[in-house]
Amino acid sequence: MGLTYQRSAKRVLRANFVNSPASDYIVALAGNPNTGKSTVFNALTGLKQHTGNWPGKTVIQAYGNYRYKGKMITLVDLPGTYSLFTNSPEEEVARDFICFGEPDVTIVVVDATCLERNLNFVLQVMEITPKTIMCLNLIDEARRRNIHIDYKKLQDKLGVPVIPTAARNGEGLNQLKDTVNRLASGLICPNPRQLRYEDSIEKTIEELAAELIPTLQDRINKRWIALRLIEGDYSVIASIKKYLGSSTFKEEFEYGTDTPRMGCFK
């Protein structure tokens, strides 16, 4: 049995998050806790779930649909995390979906009043996938506090679309939907700013990435995987085997994504 990347593997992973039937695009919604991510989710999908104000409140993966210009879009609300380095089950869920679930677009919701901390997360997502949109939320709050963000310049520097929104009163949402469609359909081709590391690391990244081609072929970001291997994040190997592997390996690494693992307490 070969180890070509199976489209079905992607479906299996997506099915962990999304049970919805045929939709044109799958869009991931990621971001730090307390950025108004759930508000954006509700505003886009028209769902009227309650959103509290405490860190980590999105404890259940939610997904919802919306229609825009004839396309059916499924939006997956990922847990709010500070980073995508796998230090916790939530971070692993978010990372795995963005990387192995291959969403057509990943929206990163950002708190405009706390840009630096949030940019850190955006840059991490951009390392995984170029198909990233930065949703600069709470822009009304930033204005109120006299924080001025030159988002055109930010967009140029990042190389991915930056859309200012105030999801609470609907500001900017149409532009966001429009950008999602255009990015998903290939009308926009982002050219994300690439983080550079020191020469010795860059050289090794290149070498390892080249060696990963037979295994991963042209689907997953090999530079990113190589970087994780270099820093010793073995959970990424487990995920590769889990989502891309043959059935034997799949079983070995299989666990339910919908229930957090309690490790040694089983």
Binding site: Y82, S83, F85, N87, T113, C114, L115, E116, R117, N120
Partner: protein, 80 residues
């Protein structure tokens, strides 16, 4: 009060800003402290203590994050 000798985050008086010098932690704890933005060179300010004196809330890169004394003592800072 105006010493600039290195100390730990937990010892920094409220309102006195400090710059992170190093982390005395390994493994997962180190990774998580880094993820919170506590990398060397970062300016941190203790803003308030819980009524019991522990944990302490710090302004770290724009967000207010509370840490217990144990974690606070793992972060070496130079008072500014």
């Amino acid at each position: 009060m105006y010493t600039t000798e290195e100390t730990t985050l937990a010892n920094l008086p409220l309102g006195r800003r400090g710059i992170v010098k190093s982390l005395d932690a390994e493994g997962i704890i180190r990774r998580r402290l880094l993820d919170l933005g506590l990398i060397p060179g970062t300016v941190v300010e203790p803003i308030r203590k819980s009524p019991a004196g522990d944990p302490i809330a710090f302004k770290i890169r724009g967000a207010v994050i509370a840490l217990r004394l144990e974690e606070g003592h793992r972060v070496c800072v130079r008072p500014l």
